[in-house]
Protein backbone atom coordinates (compact mmCIF):
# COMPACT_ATOMS: atom_id res chain seq x y z
CA UNK A 1 0.00 0.00 0.00
CA UNK A 2 2.73 2.46 1.00
CA UNK A 3 4.76 1.46 -2.09
CA UNK A 4 1.78 2.41 -4.28
CA UNK A 5 1.25 5.62 -2.32
CA UNK A 6 4.95 6.45 -2.68
CA UNK A 7 4.74 5.98 -6.47
CA UNK A 8 1.70 8.29 -6.51
CA UNK A 9 3.55 10.83 -4.35
CA UNK A 10 6.31 10.92 -6.98
CA UNK A 11 3.74 12.49 -9.31
CA UNK A 12 3.73 15.56 -7.04
CA UNK A 13 7.28 16.36 -8.17
CA UNK A 14 7.77 18.85 -11.02
CA UNK A 15 7.86 17.33 -14.48
CA UNK A 16 11.53 18.25 -14.99
CA UNK A 17 12.54 16.65 -11.70
CA UNK A 18 10.67 13.43 -12.54
CA UNK A 19 12.27 13.30 -15.96
CA UNK A 20 15.72 13.58 -14.43
CA UNK A 21 15.39 11.51 -11.23
CA UNK A 22 12.06 9.66 -11.60
CA UNK A 23 13.41 6.29 -12.81
CA UNK A 24 16.06 5.99 -10.11
CA UNK A 25 13.64 7.18 -7.42
CA UNK A 26 11.17 4.49 -8.48
CA UNK A 27 13.97 1.90 -8.42
CA UNK A 28 14.94 3.04 -4.90
CA UNK A 29 11.32 2.90 -3.69
CA UNK A 30 10.97 -0.63 -5.09
CA UNK A 31 14.19 -1.74 -3.43
CA UNK A 32 13.31 -0.21 -0.07
CA UNK A 33 9.58 0.64 0.22
CA UNK A 34 9.17 3.68 2.49
CA UNK A 35 6.97 3.93 5.57
CA UNK A 36 4.70 6.84 6.48
CA UNK A 37 7.73 8.99 7.38
CA UNK A 38 9.28 8.24 3.98
CA UNK A 39 6.08 9.34 2.22
CA UNK A 40 6.04 12.59 4.21
CA UNK A 41 9.69 13.05 3.26
CA UNK A 42 8.76 12.60 -0.42
CA UNK A 43 5.96 15.18 -0.08
CA UNK A 44 8.37 17.63 1.55
CA UNK A 45 10.90 16.93 -1.22
CA UNK A 46 8.24 17.57 -3.88
CA UNK A 47 7.30 20.92 -2.30
CA UNK A 48 10.98 21.91 -2.08
CA UNK A 49 11.50 20.90 -5.73
CA UNK A 50 8.61 23.17 -6.74
CA UNK A 51 9.87 26.09 -4.68
CA UNK A 52 13.55 25.69 -5.64
CA UNK A 53 13.67 23.70 -8.89
CA UNK A 54 17.10 22.18 -9.62
CA UNK A 55 18.73 24.08 -12.49
CA UNK A 56 20.23 21.06 -14.27
CA UNK A 57 16.89 19.23 -14.32
CA UNK A 58 15.02 22.36 -15.43
CA UNK A 59 17.52 23.01 -18.23
CA UNK A 60 16.70 19.62 -19.77
CA UNK A 61 13.04 20.62 -20.33
CA UNK A 62 11.91 22.16 -23.58
CA UNK A 63 11.22 25.89 -22.90
CA UNK A 64 7.96 25.75 -24.87
CA UNK A 65 6.68 22.97 -22.64
CA UNK A 66 7.86 24.86 -19.55
CA UNK A 67 5.81 27.90 -20.63
CA UNK A 68 2.84 25.63 -21.43
CA UNK A 69 3.12 24.10 -17.95
CA UNK A 70 3.18 27.59 -16.41
CA UNK A 71 0.12 28.82 -18.32
CA UNK A 72 -1.77 25.58 -17.59
CA UNK A 73 -0.77 25.66 -13.92
CA UNK A 74 -2.01 29.24 -13.53
CA UNK A 75 -5.31 28.22 -15.15
CA UNK A 76 -5.81 25.42 -12.59
CA UNK A 77 -4.97 27.89 -9.77
CA UNK A 78 -7.45 30.38 -11.27
CA UNK A 79 -10.23 27.77 -11.20
CA UNK A 80 -9.63 27.02 -7.50
CA UNK A 81 -9.34 30.76 -6.81
CA UNK A 82 -12.57 31.45 -8.68
CA UNK A 83 -14.37 28.87 -6.51
CA UNK A 84 -13.30 30.82 -3.41
CA UNK A 85 -14.32 34.02 -5.22
CA UNK A 86 -17.76 32.60 -5.89
CA UNK A 87 -18.04 31.72 -2.19
CA UNK A 88 -17.11 35.36 -1.39
CA UNK A 89 -19.81 36.60 -3.77
CA UNK A 90 -22.44 34.32 -2.18
CA UNK A 91 -21.31 35.28 1.35
CA UNK A 92 -21.64 39.02 0.73
CA UNK A 93 -24.53 39.22 -1.76
CA UNK A 94 -27.34 39.99 0.72
CA UNK A 95 -28.78 43.46 1.34
CA UNK A 96 -27.20 44.01 4.83
CA UNK A 97 -23.72 43.62 3.27
CA UNK A 98 -24.53 46.15 0.54
CA UNK A 99 -25.79 48.57 3.21
CA UNK A 100 -22.64 48.05 5.29
CA UNK A 101 -20.54 48.65 2.16
CA UNK A 102 -22.28 51.99 1.61
CA UNK A 103 -21.89 52.98 5.28
CA UNK A 104 -18.20 52.07 5.70
CA UNK A 105 -15.68 53.39 3.18
CA UNK A 106 -13.09 50.58 3.51
CA UNK A 107 -15.73 47.85 3.21
CA UNK A 108 -17.21 49.44 0.11
CA UNK A 109 -13.80 50.12 -1.45
CA UNK A 110 -12.58 46.54 -0.80
CA UNK A 111 -15.75 45.09 -2.35
CA UNK A 112 -15.43 47.30 -5.43
CA UNK A 113 -11.71 46.39 -5.72
CA UNK A 114 -12.57 42.66 -5.61
CA UNK A 115 -15.19 43.06 -8.32
CA UNK A 116 -13.05 45.25 -10.57
CA UNK A 117 -10.01 42.95 -10.32
CA UNK A 118 -12.16 39.83 -10.83
CA UNK A 119 -13.80 41.25 -13.99
CA UNK A 120 -10.42 42.41 -15.37
CA UNK A 121 -8.72 39.08 -14.60
CA UNK A 122 -11.61 37.10 -16.14
CA UNK A 123 -11.37 39.23 -19.30
CA UNK A 124 -7.60 38.61 -19.46
CA UNK A 125 -8.16 34.85 -19.02
CA UNK A 126 -10.57 34.88 -21.99
CA UNK A 127 -8.34 37.13 -24.15
CA UNK A 128 -5.24 35.05 -23.36
CA UNK A 129 -7.08 31.81 -24.05
CA UNK A 130 -8.77 32.80 -27.34
CA UNK A 131 -5.67 32.46 -29.59
CA UNK A 132 -4.84 29.14 -27.91
CA UNK A 133 -8.40 27.83 -28.37
CA UNK A 134 -8.28 28.87 -32.03
CA UNK A 135 -4.93 27.09 -32.54
CA UNK A 136 -6.14 23.96 -30.69
CA UNK A 137 -9.35 23.79 -32.78
CA UNK A 138 -7.38 24.14 -36.04
CA UNK A 139 -4.88 21.51 -34.93
CA UNK A 140 -7.69 19.14 -33.86
CA UNK A 141 -9.38 19.59 -37.26
CA UNK A 142 -6.19 19.18 -39.31
CA UNK A 143 -4.95 16.15 -37.37
CA UNK A 144 -8.43 14.61 -36.83
CA UNK A 145 -7.88 14.63 -33.07
CA UNK A 146 -11.21 15.92 -31.82
CA UNK A 147 -10.46 14.55 -28.34
CA UNK A 148 -8.13 17.52 -27.79
CA UNK A 149 -11.04 19.97 -27.81
CA UNK A 150 -13.79 17.67 -26.55
CA UNK A 151 -11.99 16.86 -23.28
CA UNK A 152 -12.17 20.45 -21.90
CA UNK A 153 -15.71 21.10 -23.20
CA UNK A 154 -17.35 17.89 -21.95
CA UNK A 155 -17.15 18.66 -18.17
CA UNK A 156 -18.59 22.15 -18.79
CA UNK A 157 -21.44 20.71 -20.86
CA UNK A 158 -22.22 18.15 -18.15
CA UNK A 159 -22.24 20.87 -15.48
CA UNK A 160 -24.46 23.05 -17.66
CA UNK A 161 -26.98 20.19 -17.99
CA UNK A 162 -26.90 19.55 -14.23
CA UNK A 163 -27.45 23.26 -13.52
CA UNK A 164 -30.39 23.39 -15.95
CA UNK A 165 -32.00 20.35 -14.27
CA UNK A 166 -31.53 21.87 -10.80
CA UNK A 167 -32.98 25.22 -11.91
CA UNK A 168 -36.00 23.42 -13.34
CA UNK A 169 -36.45 21.41 -10.11
CA UNK A 170 -36.01 24.53 -7.94
CA UNK A 171 -38.60 26.37 -10.05
CA UNK A 172 -41.10 23.53 -9.51
CA UNK A 173 -40.48 23.49 -5.75
CA UNK A 174 -40.65 27.29 -5.41
CA UNK A 175 -44.16 27.18 -6.91
CA UNK A 176 -45.20 24.76 -4.16
CA UNK A 177 -43.32 26.01 -1.07
CA UNK A 178 -41.25 28.96 0.17
CA UNK A 179 -37.93 29.15 2.08
CA UNK A 180 -34.58 27.34 1.92
CA UNK A 181 -34.86 23.74 3.09
CA UNK A 182 -32.13 21.37 4.31
CA UNK A 183 -32.50 19.50 1.01
CA UNK A 184 -31.91 22.77 -0.83
CA UNK A 185 -28.67 23.34 1.13
CA UNK A 186 -27.46 19.82 0.34
CA UNK A 187 -28.32 20.27 -3.35
CA UNK A 188 -26.56 23.66 -3.47
CA UNK A 189 -23.41 22.28 -1.78
CA UNK A 190 -23.33 19.25 -4.10
CA UNK A 191 -23.86 21.53 -7.08
CA UNK A 192 -20.92 23.68 -5.96
CA UNK A 193 -18.63 20.67 -5.44
CA UNK A 194 -19.58 19.12 -8.79
CA UNK A 195 -19.03 22.52 -10.40
CA UNK A 196 -15.55 22.74 -8.89
CA UNK A 197 -14.72 19.18 -10.03
CA UNK A 198 -15.98 19.92 -13.57
CA UNK A 199 -14.03 23.20 -13.70
CA UNK A 200 -10.83 21.44 -12.60
CA UNK A 201 -11.45 18.68 -15.18
CA UNK A 202 -11.93 21.40 -17.82
CA UNK A 203 -8.71 23.17 -16.76
CA UNK A 204 -6.78 19.89 -16.87
CA UNK A 205 -8.25 19.19 -20.33
CA UNK A 206 -7.15 22.69 -21.46
CA UNK A 207 -3.67 22.00 -20.11
CA UNK A 208 -3.46 18.74 -22.10
CA UNK A 209 -4.71 20.53 -25.22
CA UNK A 210 -2.02 23.18 -24.68
CA UNK A 211 0.67 20.49 -24.67
CA UNK A 212 -0.81 18.71 -27.70
CA UNK A 213 -1.01 21.85 -29.87
CA UNK A 214 2.03 23.26 -31.69
CA UNK A 215 2.24 26.99 -30.90
CA UNK A 216 4.40 29.85 -32.12
CA UNK A 217 6.64 31.56 -29.50
CA UNK A 218 4.57 34.74 -29.78
CA UNK A 219 1.38 32.94 -28.79
CA UNK A 220 3.13 31.23 -25.90
CA UNK A 221 4.44 34.59 -24.69
CA UNK A 222 0.93 36.09 -24.87
CA UNK A 223 -0.36 33.12 -22.84
CA UNK A 224 2.43 33.53 -20.28
CA UNK A 225 1.86 37.31 -20.09
CA UNK A 226 -1.86 36.75 -19.50
CA UNK A 227 -1.10 34.09 -16.87
CA UNK A 228 1.27 36.48 -15.08
CA UNK A 229 -1.29 39.30 -15.13
CA UNK A 230 -3.94 36.93 -13.75
CA UNK A 231 -1.54 35.73 -11.01
CA UNK A 232 -0.98 39.30 -9.80
CA UNK A 233 -4.71 40.08 -10.10
CA UNK A 234 -5.28 37.06 -7.82
CA UNK A 235 -2.89 38.61 -5.29
CA UNK A 236 -4.79 41.92 -5.46
CA UNK A 237 -8.16 40.17 -5.02
CA UNK A 238 -6.87 38.10 -2.10
CA UNK A 239 -5.56 41.29 -0.42
CA UNK A 240 -8.90 43.06 -1.03
CA UNK A 241 -10.87 40.12 0.41
CA UNK A 242 -8.57 40.09 3.45
CA UNK A 243 -9.12 43.86 3.87
CA UNK A 244 -12.89 43.30 3.54
CA UNK A 245 -12.83 40.55 6.18
CA UNK A 246 -10.87 42.76 8.61
CA UNK A 247 -13.05 45.82 7.94
CA UNK A 248 -16.21 43.74 8.41
CA UNK A 249 -14.95 42.43 11.76
CA UNK A 250 -14.11 45.99 12.90
CA UNK A 251 -16.93 48.07 11.42
CA UNK A 252 -19.81 45.58 11.26
CA UNK A 253 -18.94 43.00 13.90
CA UNK A 254 -22.54 41.78 14.17
CA UNK A 255 -22.61 40.96 10.46
CA UNK A 256 -19.22 39.26 10.77
CA UNK A 257 -20.49 37.03 13.59
CA UNK A 258 -23.74 36.09 11.80
CA UNK A 259 -24.00 32.48 10.63
CA UNK A 260 -23.65 32.17 6.86
CA UNK A 261 -23.43 29.55 4.11
CA UNK A 262 -25.74 26.72 3.01
CA UNK A 263 -25.82 24.93 6.39
CA UNK A 264 -25.40 28.06 8.58
CA UNK A 265 -22.49 26.32 10.33
CA UNK A 266 -19.75 28.94 9.94
CA UNK A 267 -19.91 32.62 10.80
CA UNK A 268 -19.37 35.12 8.00
CA UNK A 269 -15.98 36.04 9.48
CA UNK A 270 -14.84 32.39 9.53
CA UNK A 271 -16.11 31.86 5.95
CA UNK A 272 -14.19 34.92 4.78
CA UNK A 273 -11.03 33.74 6.59
CA UNK A 274 -11.26 30.34 4.85
CA UNK A 275 -11.77 32.07 1.49
CA UNK A 276 -8.72 34.30 2.08
CA UNK A 277 -6.55 31.26 2.90
CA UNK A 278 -7.61 29.42 -0.30
CA UNK A 279 -7.09 32.59 -2.36
CA UNK A 280 -3.64 33.35 -0.92
CA UNK A 281 -2.42 29.77 -1.46
CA UNK A 282 -3.76 29.64 -5.04
CA UNK A 283 -2.32 33.09 -5.85
CA UNK A 284 1.09 32.26 -4.35
CA UNK A 285 1.31 29.02 -6.38
CA UNK A 286 0.23 30.90 -9.53
CA UNK A 287 2.90 33.60 -9.07
CA UNK A 288 5.59 30.93 -8.46
CA UNK A 289 4.49 28.97 -11.52
CA UNK A 290 4.46 32.01 -13.81
CA UNK A 291 7.89 33.14 -12.54
CA UNK A 292 9.23 29.75 -13.55
CA UNK A 293 7.85 30.27 -17.05
CA UNK A 294 9.61 33.63 -17.41
CA UNK A 295 12.94 32.04 -16.46
CA UNK A 296 12.93 30.12 -19.76
CA UNK A 297 10.95 32.62 -21.87
CA UNK A 298 14.20 33.96 -23.37
CA UNK A 299 14.93 30.52 -24.86
CA UNK A 300 11.58 30.29 -26.68
CA UNK A 301 13.07 31.00 -30.13
CA UNK A 302 13.27 27.36 -31.09
CA UNK A 303 9.65 26.42 -30.33
Amino acid sequence: MTAKLARLTLRLYPHAFRRRYGDEMRALLEQSPPGARGILDLMHGALAAHLHPPELAAASVDPGNRVRASAGGVLVCWVVFAAAGFAFYKTTEDAPFSAAGRAHLLLGAAHVAVQAAAVTASAVVVLGALPLIWAACRHARDEHRLRIVVAPILPLALFGCLTAILIALAGGRRAGQQGVTGLGSVAFTLWGLIGLACAIACAVGCRRALFATPLRPGRLLVALGSATFVSFAMMVIAAAVAAYAIALALDASRLSATANGPFQVLSTGASLAAQVIVMVVAAAIAVTVSRRGWRVAGRLGGV
Binding site: A6, F17, R20, Y21, D23, E24, M25, R26, A27, L28, L29, Q31, S32, P34, R37, G38, L40, D41, L42, M43, H44, G45, A46, A48, A49, P54, E55, L56, A57
Partner: protein, 92 residues
Amino acid sequence: MLTSLADGPKHGYAITADVQELAGINLGPGTLYGALSRLEDRGLIEALPAEDRRRPYRLTSSGRTALEEQLRSLEAVATRGLRRLRAAEVSP
Protein backbone atom coordinates in the same frame (compact mmCIF):
# COMPACT_ATOMS: atom_id res chain seq x y z
CA MET B 1 26.72 12.41 1.34
CA LEU B 2 29.99 13.70 -0.12
CA THR B 3 31.85 11.57 2.44
CA SER B 4 29.83 8.59 1.32
CA LEU B 5 31.04 9.13 -2.25
CA ALA B 6 34.68 9.63 -1.20
CA ASP B 7 35.65 5.98 -1.81
CA GLY B 8 33.96 5.68 -5.22
CA PRO B 9 30.69 6.02 -7.12
CA LYS B 10 27.44 4.90 -5.46
CA HIS B 11 23.76 4.91 -6.42
CA GLY B 12 20.92 6.22 -4.25
CA TYR B 13 20.26 3.09 -2.22
CA ALA B 14 23.97 2.55 -1.47
CA ILE B 15 24.34 6.21 -0.40
CA THR B 16 21.34 5.87 1.98
CA ALA B 17 22.79 2.69 3.53
CA ASP B 18 26.27 4.24 3.83
CA VAL B 19 25.00 7.47 5.44
CA GLN B 20 23.00 5.36 7.90
CA GLU B 21 26.17 3.43 8.81
CA LEU B 22 28.45 6.49 8.86
CA ALA B 23 26.31 9.02 10.69
CA GLY B 24 23.28 7.07 11.96
CA ILE B 25 21.02 9.29 9.83
CA ASN B 26 18.14 7.66 7.96
CA LEU B 27 17.88 9.64 4.72
CA GLY B 28 14.36 9.68 3.28
CA PRO B 29 14.00 9.38 -0.52
CA GLY B 30 12.86 13.01 -0.85
CA THR B 31 15.79 14.33 1.17
CA LEU B 32 18.25 12.10 -0.71
CA TYR B 33 17.23 13.21 -4.20
CA GLY B 34 16.79 16.84 -3.13
CA ALA B 35 20.38 16.81 -1.86
CA LEU B 36 21.68 14.95 -4.94
CA SER B 37 20.06 17.54 -7.23
CA ARG B 38 21.58 20.44 -5.26
CA LEU B 39 25.04 18.84 -5.22
CA GLU B 40 24.78 18.24 -8.97
CA ASP B 41 23.72 21.86 -9.54
CA ARG B 42 26.76 23.04 -7.57
CA GLY B 43 29.04 20.81 -9.62
CA LEU B 44 30.21 18.83 -6.58
CA ILE B 45 28.99 15.47 -7.90
CA GLU B 46 28.18 14.07 -11.33
CA ALA B 47 25.97 11.25 -12.55
CA LEU B 48 27.39 8.28 -14.41
CA PRO B 49 25.42 6.31 -17.04
CA ALA B 50 22.45 4.46 -15.50
CA GLU B 51 22.77 0.77 -14.65
CA ASP B 52 19.37 -0.90 -14.69
CA ARG B 53 17.49 2.37 -13.86
CA ARG B 54 19.90 3.12 -10.98
CA ARG B 55 22.31 5.94 -11.72
CA PRO B 56 25.60 5.98 -9.78
CA TYR B 57 27.04 9.33 -8.68
CA ARG B 58 30.68 10.26 -8.15
CA LEU B 59 32.57 13.24 -6.76
CA THR B 60 33.87 15.79 -9.26
CA SER B 61 37.29 17.35 -8.70
CA SER B 62 35.67 20.43 -7.10
CA GLY B 63 33.54 18.10 -4.97
CA ARG B 64 36.67 16.31 -3.81
CA THR B 65 38.32 19.68 -2.97
CA ALA B 66 35.20 20.93 -1.13
CA LEU B 67 34.94 17.69 0.85
CA GLU B 68 38.63 17.78 1.76
CA GLU B 69 38.35 21.42 2.96
CA GLN B 70 35.25 20.59 4.98
CA LEU B 71 36.80 17.49 6.56
CA ARG B 72 40.03 19.35 7.43
CA SER B 73 38.00 22.12 9.05
CA LEU B 74 35.99 19.54 11.04
CA GLU B 75 39.21 17.75 11.96
CA ALA B 76 40.71 21.03 13.26
CA VAL B 77 37.59 21.74 15.34
CA ALA B 78 37.54 18.18 16.70
CA THR B 79 41.28 18.24 17.56
CA ARG B 80 41.00 21.59 19.39
CA GLY B 81 37.84 20.48 21.17
CA LEU B 82 39.46 17.27 22.40
CA ARG B 83 42.60 19.16 23.46
CA ARG B 84 40.49 21.58 25.51
CA LEU B 85 38.57 18.73 27.12
CA ARG B 86 41.82 17.01 28.13
CA ALA B 87 43.25 20.28 29.46
CA ALA B 88 40.11 20.81 31.56
CA GLU B 89 40.42 17.26 32.97
CA VAL B 90 44.08 17.85 33.99
CA SER B 91 43.59 21.27 35.63
CA PRO B 92 41.84 21.20 39.07
